[in-house]
């Protein structure tokens, strides 16, 4: 095996363009994927037409809320371009300068203040289905946040009014009498009066009023809590069932390294076997000089070794910029080694099927790229049946298992690294057997 290995290393050394391409391309793809995962989408440009008169406030239970506060909430998630008219906004969208426009009508204050009608904003957009979906979800999310903010303002104003009703004082409502007694003070006052009241119809009537006042005071104090619940009926409490929380940027590192490992290893292993065929050397080698098993093992090990070195260097290099736990470096290398072997086995299986290097490379590429994307599809993002198919496909190829092993090694994510390494071992054996079957006939 060592002479074959030495020969292949010599050929690789003399194929500098191929080696450079084999390393630069997957690393570039991996970094792009990593960046795409770790960075959220940039804020979409949205044209804003605010037709509401400047400085207007909404009066809510005697409390004034500035419309601009509401608008700021609405626009915080977008890159706002202010325009004066609806026509200008529409032309911005048509010209592609903004992916959508939001028109705030001049009657928004009146509608909000009325308390009985909904305020409306108009959204103008065009573009393809993906853009429309992005705009809708962004605007919906912004409106939800703005509505929540408004609802909190209303809740605060209402709570203050309830406090005044309970404790007494001066309500800043038109027509409200000055120095109100407050509902909570009425029951003790009535009790004092009742103590001096003789039995009779008047006392009975007063006792009924006292009972009601007690009940009303207690329930009005509860209404503040009810208002708080109504303003945000569902709150989120997160519970992580397995492993520990994986930061998005370190997960992106894991994805980028796994993609590089896969591409380099699969392409090199597939190309290595196909290269023997292309040079017509396979039949010569297999007539007693080298066994099929040794040949496949040599190609897989060479590809695994090269990709392991590149991936380890990449992980170490990225580690300089992203906070990684270096005490787990042994586990990183273990995950990379097992992943590389599984990818090597997959590569030689592809190489055994292809008759030339170009076909092997194309096949390896066409198989690897979708596998990587399928493995990244999160649960719940597609229909259940489709996700089951994706899971099954991802299970029988090494990318997902490698990703899980490396995620467990780098981030301590679940499932544990042992499960993933066992999975990778099984896949190595499976693809090794398939490669051996594929190489049954030398030519």
């Amino acid at each position: 095996m060592r002479w074959l290995l030495a020969k292949d290393l010599l050929i690789l050394r003399r194929s500098r363009l191929l080696v450079a391409l084999l390393i630069v391309y997957p690393v570039a793809i991996a970094l792009l994927i990593g960046l795409a995962i770790s960075r959220g989408p940039s804020r979409p440009k949205v044209a804003i037409v605010n037709l509401a008169p400047a400085g207007q406030t909404i009066e809510l239970a005697g409390r004034r809320v500035r419309v601009s506060e509401y608008a700021d909430r609405l626009f915080s998630q977008v890159d706002a371009i202010s325009v004066a008219t609806r026509t200008q906004a529409a032309s911005k969208v048509s010209a592609g300068e903004a992916i959508a426009a939001v028109v705030i009508p001049n009657d928004i204050v009146a509608r909000l203040s009325s308390g009985v009608t909904h305020a409306q904003v108009e959204v103008i957009y065009n573009g393809d289905a993906l853009e429309q979906s992005l705009v809708r979800s962004t605007i919906d999310s912004a409106l939800a946040q703005a509505n929540l903010a408004l609802s909190e303002q209303i809740q605060t104003a209402a709570a203050q009014a309830i406090d005044l009703l309970l404790g007494g004082g001066n309500l800043s409502l038109p027509g409200a009498p000055a120095n109100l007694i407050g509902l909570s003070r009425i029951p003790p006052a009535l009790h004092g009066i009742l103590a001096h009241q003789r039995a009779g119809p008047d006392r009975t009537a007063l006792e009924r009023i006292s009972t009601f006042a007690d009940f009303a005071a207690q329930n009005l104090s509860l209404s503040k809590k009810v208002l708080s619940t109504v303003s945000q009926p569902i709150q989120v409490r997160s519970t992580l069932l397995h492993g520990r929380r994986t930061p998005l940027n370190t997960f992106a590192v894991v994805v980028a390294v796994s993609v590089s490992l896969m591409f380099i290893c699969v392409l090199l292993a597939a190309g290595g076997v196909a290269h023997e065929r292309e040079e017509n050397a396979l039949a010569r080698l297999l007539r007693g000089l080298v066994s099929r098993e040794v040949l496949l093992a040599e190609k897989a090990l060479l590809a695994a070794g090269c990709s392991f070195l590149v991936a380890a260097a990449m992980l170490a290099g990225v580690g300089a910029f992203v906070s990684l736990d270096w005490s787990r470096v042994g586990l990183w290398l273990l995950a990379l080694a097992f992943g590389a072997l599984a990818f090597g086995a997959l590569g030689v299986a592809i190489g055994a099927l292809a008759r030339e290097v170009r076909a092997a490379s194309l096949l390896a590429f066409l198989l690897s790229l979708p596998l990587a994307f399928l493995a990244l599809v999160p649960a719940g993002s597609v229909a259940t049946g489709l996700y089951d198919v994706i899971r099954a496909v991802s299970f029988v190829f090494p990318f997902r298992a490698c990703l899980q092993a490396l995620d467990a090694a780098v981030n301590g994510a679940s499932p544990g690294i042992g499960v993933s390494l066992a999975h990778l071992t099984g896949l190595t054996v499976l693809f090794g057997v398939l490669a051996r079957v594929g190489l049954r006939h030398a030519d």
């Binding site: 020969k7 010599l10 040079e279 039949a283 080698l285 007539r287 030398a442």
Partner: protein
């Protein structure tokens, strides 16, 4: 038709049949090759020449029948039709690699000897991809001789060569035969058979139709003309 007995057989086939599914590429082919013989296997396209030679070389196993290499350690040298070498390696590197894989006792000495024999000593460090087709074929043949086998199988060795390169190749092969190596080669070129081979085996549709000296084919065809006319006439007479 058979050449009859062969003195000191070094290679023997008995009832070799090769099937690919329903198709029979070879049908019960039997013959033996003697020491120092230069045997041509000739036949039209699809006759089964390459299949026969790959079975002789041990690249394929026959569906039925036996192949016995009777001399030395049973090794058979083989030079396939298409040059089977690494174009990114030099002549010397290719020879050294296969000498080590063949586990020859002294790879350096063997490589030096083969470079001398092929006349490629001065081009030993040139990459194979930079050599002419003729020189590549010489290295291809040299690889088959690294382990000093008593029998060498050459599959259409001159098909991609110009006349000068052919002459040099056959001179080299003639030298091998003179030193006692048995050579079995396949060809389309009947004139090559007439000029270099001492014995011709005619295959058609997987069937051995003739085995004897090339001039014997003219008698078998019972026609006026040269060997090529006789070959065509013989095949026509036998329904091919």
């Amino acid at each position: 038709m058979s050449s009859g007995g062969v003195s000191e057989p070094v290679l023997s086939l008995r009832g070799v049949t090769m099937r690919y599914g329903e198709r029979e590429a070879l049908r019960a082919v039997s013959f033996a090759v003697g020491a120092g013989e230069l045997v041509a296997v000739v036949g039209p396209n699809g006759a089964g020449k390459t299949t026969l030679l790959s079975i002789l070389a041990g690249v394929q196993r026959p569906s039925a029948g036996t192949v016995s290499a009777l001399a030395g350690d049973g090794r058979v040298g083989w030079a396939p039709q298409q040059v089977a070498l690494y174009s990114k390696l030099s002549v010397q590197e290719n020879l050294e690699l296969f000498a080590r894989l063949e586990r020859v006792a002294d790879p350096h000495a063997v490589v030096t000897r083969m470079l001398d024999q092929t006349g490629l000593s001065e081009r030993a460090h040139e990459r194979l991809g930079h050599l002419s087709g003729g020189n590549r074929q010489r290295v291809n043949v040299a690889l088959g001789l690294l382990a000093d086998p008593p029998v060498l199988i050459l599959d259409e060795p001159s098909s991609a060569l110009d006349p000068g390169q052919r002459a040099r190749l056959w001179s080299f092969v003639g030298g091998l035969v003179e030193r006692g190596t048995s050579v079995v080669f396949s060809t389309h070129d009947v004139s090559e058979v007439e000029r270099y081979a001492r014995r011709a085996i005619v295959l058609a549709d997987g069937e051995l139709l003739f085995d004897g000296p090339p001039r014997g084919l003219i008698d078998a065809a019972d026609l006026e003309g040269d060997l090529e006319d006789a070959f065509v006439g013989f095949l026509a007479k036998r329904g091919h």
